[in-house]
């Protein structure tokens, strides 16, 4: 079990636990968290990039790594663009890769509307950067085996995406 930081040895250890004798329990083998700041476009994508690298180091299948990386990137960009800042948590156990993106606001007034393809509240200057297609959350859902959003206006949003390790 490993928490936080970017410690290569710990990732190796987690990798060993992961590929070793299959555990019947879904004990986490790796947990990392990444802070994501609002409007920090210079750093935006670093968490997803790191997550992709870690999963690759764990020896996971390329298509799974890609799905997780895409989901993480969409989650990260939503934190940068739409939230007041938050955190992405990566958790790997023997059965699945789980990504949790949580923020402290502003929350979504209507989650099912936010999930609709093409729906976006991104302002023009964000659209000029190539975001705001209203495809991020649907993309995340497509990439995941289970997907959920909990949101409350004034409190914040938690998006959880899990990908089964076949």
């Amino acid at each position: 079990m490993y928490r936080g930081g970017n410690d290569g040895q710990a990732i190796d250890r987690a990798g060993a636990a992961f590929s070793g004798a299959a555990s019947p329990h879904s004990e986490p083998v790796l947990e990392m968290s990444f802070r994501v700041d609002r409007y920090d476009f210079a750093a935006a994508g670093e968490a997803a990039s790191k997550i992709k690298q870690v999963l690759r180091q764990l020896g996971m299948a390329p298509e799974l790594v890609r799905r997780a990386a895409v989901a993480a990137y969409e989650a990260e960009m939503n934190l940068v663009i739409h939230s007041e800042g938050g955190q992405i948590l990566l958790r790997v156990d023997t059965e699945k890769v789980t990504l949790v993106a949580c923020d402290g606001g502003p929350g979504m007034p209507d989650v099912s509307l936010a999930m609709r393809e093409g729906y976006s509240t991104a302002p023009d200057e964000i659209r000029e950067m190539g975001f705001g297609a209203g495809m991020g959350l649907p993309n995340m859902k497509r990439c995941s085996d289970s997907f959920s959003i909990e949101s409350e206006v004034g409190r914040g949003t938690t998006v959880t995406a899990a990908i089964r390790i076949a």
């Binding site: 935006a44 994508g45 895409v70 950067m129 190539g130 975001f131 991020g136 649907p138 993309n139 497509r142």
Partner: protein, 127 residues
């Protein structure tokens, strides 16, 4: 199609990856100015034609495992973005041609598009 031939075909300037021109082989391409569309529909190893020149394009290419980026309409990314491309090992070309003509030339030369299912899902996904 070799990247070197693509460079020739669209008269592109090579910003990153001069050394890869004769080794990188392109089978599929897509043209988009929307990041989420690229992430949703592009297979890995795809060549991306785009008018976006921000750092996020390189990130997107990295995340989606894209093969090459061609900047269209005479757009040139900043030096910092070119450096990111170098670090990520992603060839980057720049052409003065608009998006439609760039894509048309590539398509006419036999580069394939990405196939979408009726529901917009990707088909023939590479593993």
């Amino acid at each position: 199609m070799k990247l070197a031939d693509i460079r020739e075909l669209i008269g592109a300037e090579v910003l990153v990856g001069e050394d890869k021109l004769s080794t990188v082989e392109i089978e599929m391409a897509c043209g988009s100015d929307l990041i989420s569309d690229v992430l949703a529909f592009c297979h890995d190893k795809t060549l991306l034609c785009t008018g976006l020149v921000s750092a996020q394009v390189v990130r997107t290419a990295e995340i989606a495992g894209l093969s090459t980026i061609i900047f269209v309409r005479g757009k040139r990314p900043d030096e910092s973005v070119i450096e990111m491309g170098k670090a990520a090992g992603i060839p980057m070309l720049a052409t003065d041609l608009p998006m439609f003509e760039t894509c048309g030339l590539l398509y006419g030369a036999g580069v394939g598009g990405i196939c979408l299912g009726a529901d917009g899902s990707r088909r023939g996904d590479v593993g």
